[in-house]
């Protein structure tokens, strides 16, 4: 098999968040198979820390491009849409024919929340003539909050395994199989839903107390 290169786009405005943690694992797993990977941060291009025109080389050198992104208001963040709009208008030619896949992760546990984000990635790929290899959805990314997957015990192991299978697929140019999604899906049993809400609200009140007993329900824009 020829050596392939994956260009991973970290779509988060937080360079050390969960999207980065996922990107980092994908990079390591990719290198373990003798292939190569590079992570770039969309936010660096938005802020002008990196020059957009330098992307051209990076894209030409890559065989596969991956978007790893947090869910902001139910889809890709402003930064990521801005980035994809730039790619379409300036680099369609460089991207044509390459493979593309995406990982969306959100705060809430429900994986269906990421559907609009993953579809948007697919429509982008189709618009520039890339081959869409599929998307993975992770629910509960806020709980991980940037922690490295190898430090998360069983939960982390399953996600790593899910990503490993997905990489095997994409490196062979195949669609990501449903096995990967099954491995990374965390189901919260119904009976634990109320205790979870109580736990999360306990933390909300605790944080408010720590911030000088602040009224987090303030209707600031009506004052």
């Amino acid at each position: 098999m020829t050596i392939k290169k994956i260009l991973i786009l970290n779509g988060s405005s937080r360079k050390k968040g969960t999207s980065f943690s996922f990107s980092r694992t994908i990079k390591t797993l990719c290198e373990d198979t003798g292939n190569s990977a590079e992570i770039i941060h969309v936010i660096d291009y938005f802020k002008g820390k990196e020059e957009l025109h330098q992307l051209k080389e990076l894209m030409l050198q890559s065989d596969i491009i991956a978007m790893v992104a947090p869910l902001y208001s139910d889809t890709l963040s402003y930064y990521d849409i801005w980035f994809l709009e730039r790619l379409v208008s300036e680099y369609s030619h460089e991207l044509r024919g390459k493979d593309f896949f995406a990982i969306g992760q959100c705060g809430f546990p429900d994986i269906t929340r990421n559907e609009p984000l993953l579809n948007t990635c697919r429509f982008f790929a189709e618009e520039v003539g890339m081959r869409w290899l599929g998307g993975l959805s992770y629910g509960g990314g806020a709980m991980i909050n940037g922690a490295f997957l190898e430090d998360l015990g069983k939960k982390g192991e399953k996600i790593i395994l899910g990503f490993k299978f997905a990489l095997e697929d994409v490196l062979q140019g195949h669609q990501i199989s449903s096995k990967s999604q099954e491995l990374i899906t965390v189901e919260i049993p119904k009976i634990l839903q109320w205790p979870l809400v109580a736990f999360l609200n306990y933390h909300t009140r605790k944080k408010a107390r720590e911030n000088g007993n602040i009224d987090y329900k303030r209707r600031a824009y009506l004052e």
């Binding site: 988060s12 405005s13 937080r14 938005f46 902001y72 208001s73 139910d74 889809t75 890709l76 963040s77 402003y78 930064y79 849409i81 801005w82 994809l84 709009e85 809430f108 546990p109 429900d110 929340r113 559907e115 609009p116 579809n119 948007t120 990635c121 429509f123 982008f124 618009e127 119904k190 839903q193 109320w194 979870l196 809400v197 999360l200 609200n201 909300t204 009140r205 944080k207 408010a208 720590e210 911030n211 602040i214 009224d215 987090y216 329900k217 303030r218 209707r219 600031a220 824009y221 009506l222």
Partner: protein, 184 residues
Amino acid sequence: MSIVILDGMERENNTSSMFERVLKENLEKTFYFKLRDMNIAPCSCCESCSYTTPGKCVVNDDAHEILKTIAKSDTVILLSPIRFGGYSSCLKKIVDKFMLLILPSYRLKKGYLLHPARYGKKILIGIGVAEDVLKEQEENFEKLVEHNAHNLQYPYKTHILRSSEEIEKAEDEVNSILKVVHEG
């Protein structure tokens, strides 16, 4: 009855002009925001709006004026070209700040975890302008509006305008929107 329209179209176009005219003719309290002409900083996820300055963004930009108007209104209309089956970046800049319209606490509704609304219930209307996009993209746009409405816990409606359609047809759509607004 007051209505806020967040226009995420990137340049002058007939649809926006028609919307602005018909809405202003029919509703006294129409607040029309042409986002492309405004200075809105994107959300940097600093989390200050949760516990430091609850419900308020710490960045000084035009988003405050928009959010203040939304807080006082009954209806929010999102207008955008359908971009990759969703919103244009021009509209998304303000939609990312909708986090300010919800609380950092949690509730459970029909098995879904949600953040309670900060300013009560409003009507959300998403209007996608389709230029040569596939049906699938239109459906994803509608799904996105539905998800936004679900998270905000607002009732919602979606409309797809095909730019090839005559402006009268679009006017009919606006009138049906006005009907929804009047009926609450």
